[in-house]
Subunit: 203 residues, 2 copies
């Protein structure tokens, strides 16, 4: 697959894949989706362009894989799925706040969010990610009737918190401590997992 | 105040004010905040620049007033505050969906949302609007302990629904009917208005 012998890393090794993702993630977040080329990522990661195509298929595939590193919001939720269902909202909130409040991750996550909103390509990409990696996975974890709807309400609420606290920075949400956020947002997230009340109850 | 006689409209009349807002709203939504000048709005509305300053003080004042027309999200919430508190979430959801699902308003609201996310000036403007016109007004309506926090959780949830349904268009939220949305999101919004459970309860 290589046109010439490469220095350092063996093509196809896990290290090579990780190195490509590391470069891609940093550049996507710093420069936005459109500005980054597969060629420039290949050059910086010191690998053949064909190897990137082999691993990730396309720029979109590379972007999705790169976003799945470290600060990926889907991992925040996935990490919360293990453990007691009754305390899942608390875990999800604490994981979310740990990722977004972290001065190393927060700005990159915010840049990613802005990209998603500005660009239809990003929005379509994120729609896929939100449905498959967040809503479907949470639905599988909670199970039962209307699991996808309940999961979607939960994910939408987490999104609303992110927008209120980190994008709009609306008070009092922006200044509340982690414990205060968990206390304020936890009950509604629990309610979301419970789903709608029985049809007889008027709400 | 006028430098020269104006055609058509009398300066200072309610019609003149409405005409200015109509032009401003359309141009802000089509061109974004920065591209629109008070001068160009005055020219298109056929009024003196000084009259716009007199009515609205500044470009920010004009923007806020222009956004308050018809499709203003703050009015969606304000219209829901009247009536029984127990059914406020249902009213708020139905009003929100009526505004955003409307093919005349929806695209303009989405354009406004995109502007808010892209631009720090817009974000700061919307922060003000969200705090004063949404959170504070809802807090005053519901009253009681931590009213602002409860109101903020409610508003954040409404924002999460908007982002999920209209911006990301994530399924199943994007395709659910109005009744299905009310049924799925209503209970969590009710919970948000109730606030955190007593300290003894572990959640």
């Amino acid at each position: 697959m290589n046109k010439s012998p490469r220095r350092g890393r063996r093509p196809g090794s896990p290290d090579t894949r990780a190195a490509i993702l590391d470069v891609a993630r940093r550049r996507f977040l710093a420069e936005g989706y459109h500005a980054v080329t597969l060629r420039s990522v290949a050059a910086e990661a010191d690998v053949d362009l064909a190897l990137i195509s082999y691993f990730f298929g396309s720029k979109k595939g590379l972007f999705g894989a790169a976003m799945a590193l470290k600060v990926n919001p889907t991992e925040v939720l996935a990490a919360s799925l293990e453990g007691d269902l009754a305390t899942l909202p608390q875990r999800a909130l604490r994981n979310l706040l740990a990722a977004w409040d972290n001065p190393e991750n927060g700005p990159a996550l915010l840049a990613m969010l802005r990209n998603l909103v500005q660009d239809d390509g990003h929005a379509a990409l994120f729609k896929e990610v939100a449905e498959k990696e967040m809503i479907d996975r949470l639905a599988a974890r909670i199970g039962g009737a209307q699991a996808r709807r309940r999961a979607a309400v939960f994910v939408a609420q987490m999104g609303g918190l992110i927008v209120a606290r980190y994008l709009v920075r609306a008070e009092p949400v922006a200044s509340m401590s982690v414990d205060e956020i968990v206390r304020a947002f936890g009950p509604s997230l629990h309610q979301a997992l419970q789903g709608a009340p029985p049809p007889g109850r008027r709400h």
